[in-house]
């Protein structure tokens, strides 16, 4: 299957990843080989597959009980930027 450069760029954007042109070329080639392999799946006849997903009962859900949270220091302790107990993200423009 062919995947266009435009599609690859769209995927990179969905993935929030940058690639150099060189990386992109190498990547497109790898991607094509992987997809050719994965496309073998289309040949498998799955018309008889009944859904047999594992299903949990409602009873196995969690009781509505409050348990202690972590301290604010533990929560924001790993943040590259924090201020007064908040995480800091780049400015969000709505």
């Amino acid at each position: 299957m062919e995947i266009t450069e435009k599609e690859i760029k769209h995927l990179a954007s969905l993935s929030r990843l940058n690639f150099t042109d060189e990386e992109l070329a190498k990547f497109s080639a790898d991607f094509k080989a992987i997809l050719d392999y994965v496309n073998e799946l289309q040949k498998v006849d799955t018309s008889n597959v009944k859904d047999n997903t594992i299903i949990r009962a409602y009873d196995e859900l969690r009781e509505d009980e409050v348990k202690p949270s972590l301290s604010n220091e533990e929560i924001v302790g790993n943040a590259p930027k924090n201020y007064n107990g908040y995480f800091i993200a780049p400015t969000v423009v709505e």
């Binding site: 969905l14 949990r56 196995e60 509505d64 949270s69 107990g85």
Partner: protein
């Protein structure tokens, strides 16, 4: 050209469980930033979600209250997009198999015309964190206390055709959610939020127009204004032969207009798929039956109770029960002062008028403690204070919520019911204003009110007005 307006609402309502929907952190409004947080709700690597039973139950309850069908198997899915308020960069939500399907609510317009608004679904999902812009530090502050709070999304069909209907639908939903006690529905705190989808089509046309989605509507007033604005905007575009673009628009209440929002994700591809951490789960019929049995009284039943047991009129009961906050307040007040009709009258006249002075007070916040309010009414009803003093005090404690018993005592506002004393004071007034006496004798009964007014001025409103008017009549006749 004339257009038909087609409106659908997506209403988000926070459930009032004790803990969050996928972890055991406290579900509480506010709090110091990032203190109701754990590995699960801030999306630390390796953390895993477990659904909250009560949140599922409340969703079922909401569904039953609006006649939805409850699916026997429900699936949580991931809605993937990057945004700083979304800790995991996906929201756990429901797409193909929500907990509730279908249902609907009946609304009524001013003229009593009824209309049925169909629901598409109600699903359970998690709320996002809060973003606060801070230009001083050149960034946006992120607080995940709200992240993971259980949220139901109630999606209507596009069955509404005016702002009035949308507001009627929203307030009906709010009323139901409050009555079944699954949500506080406080618009100001964001526990009830609403997105509106709106499109226009030439009058009578079958073909649906292109719709815009309006976000950030956090009061009834902004819902009305935003819809009216959008109808104007779209009809102007269509009149001029331009295209309406399918987009999300953000309502700016201060500027009274909406703005096109920057899109969250290219082409809005949310890549929904079943959350592998959350297996599908089964909702037994027995559970649905159990929820049915614990369903609290809805508004219609309350009205009946008030009419039959408390002796309120049908009309009064219906106004009083329109909002559960008001119902709860009323019931608390009468637990201290058991004169339901008297209390109801005061609430419907004086108190509601006061509430509505603040257009933004959609949540009917009543700042006076019920007991304080009961004390005030009791003093008035028993003649301890005059009506004038009662009104004044009501206005005062609305803003201060100070103890009215204490104020009456300290300022000595107790009503003067002593006939002899009142007679003495009236005598003085009769001598002071001979012209008014003559007016009265000439047949001008307004002169009587003049004397009462003067008396009140003299006594700072403390004289018993009823006694005084009886006396002045006797004295002048």
């Amino acid at each position: 050209m004339e257009y038909d307006v087609v409106i659908g609402l997506e209403v988000h309502s926070e459930l009032k469980t004790k803990s969050k929907v996928f972890c055991s952190c406290k579900n509480e409004f506010g709090g110091e930033p990032n203190t109701h947080c754990c590995p699960v709700c801030i999306g630390l690597p390796g953390a895993l979600p477990i659904p909250n039973k009560e949140a599922v139950k409340m969703t079922i309850k909401a569904g039953l209250a609006v006649g939805s069908q409850i699916n026997d198997i429900a699936i949580f899915e991931r809605k993937n997009y990057f945004y700083p308020d979304l800790a995991k960069a996906y929201q756990i939500s429901q797409a193909v198999r929500p907990i509730c399907i279908g249902g609907g609510v009946e609304i009524e317009d001013k003229n009593g015309h009824k209309k049925y608004i169909r629901l598409n679904r109600i699903h359970l999902e998690e709320d996002a964190g809060k973003l606060i812009h801070n230009s001083k530090i050149g960034g946006t502050m992120v607080d995940y206390n709200r992240g993971g709070v259980p949220l139901i999304e109630i999606v209507s069909e596009a069955d509404m055709s005016s702002a009035e209907e949308a507001v009627a639908y929203l307030s009906k939903l709010r009323n139901i959610l409050q009555y079944i006690e699954v949500s506080d529905c406080k618009m100001e705190q964001g526990s009830l939020r609403c997105d509106v989808n709106i499109s226009l089509k030439p009058k009578g046309s079958e073909k649906l127009g292109v719709r815009a989605e309006m976000k950030n509507l956090n009061s009834f007033r902004s819902v009305t204004r935003a819809i009216e604005y959008e109808i104007k905007r779209q009809s102007r575009l269509l009149d001029e032969g331009e295209e309406v673009i399918q987009e999300t628009r953000r309502w700016d209440d201060a500027r009274n207009r909406s703005f096109s929002m920057r899109r969250k994700e290219d082409a809005q591809d949310y890549r929904y798929f079943p959350d592998p951490d959350l297996l599908p789960f089964k909702i037994e019929r027995s559970l649905v039956e159990e929820v049915k049995r614990t369903m609290p009284k809805l508004r219609e039943e309350k009205i009946n109770d008030y009419v039959n047991d408390l002796g309120l009129s049908e009309y009064d009961a219906s106004v009083l029960t329109n909002d559960l906050n008001l119902v709860k307040y009323f019931e608390k007040v009468i637990s201290y002062f058991n004169k339901p009709k008297f209390v109801c009258n005061f609430i419907l006249t004086t108190l509601l008028k006061k509430v509505k002075e603040d257009e933004e007070n959609d949540d009917l916040v009543i700042p006076i403690e019920p007991q304080n309010f009961a004390n005030l009414l009791q003093m008035y009803e028993s003649g301890q204070i005059s009506q004038a003093i009662c009104r004044e005090l009501f206005d005062e404690i609305w803003t201060t919520n100070e103890d009215c018993l204490k104020i009456v005592k300290e300022r000595n506002l107790v009503q003067n019911n002593n006939e002899d004393e009142i007679k003495e004071m009236l005598k003085v007034l009769i001598e002071e204003f001979p012209q008014s006496v003559q007016d009265y004798k000439a047949g001008n009964t307004k002169a009587l009110s003049f004397f009462i007014g003067q008396l009140m001025k003299k006594t700072q409103g403390k004289a018993n007005a009823q006694i005084a008017s009886k006396l002045i009549k006797e004295m002048l006749d």
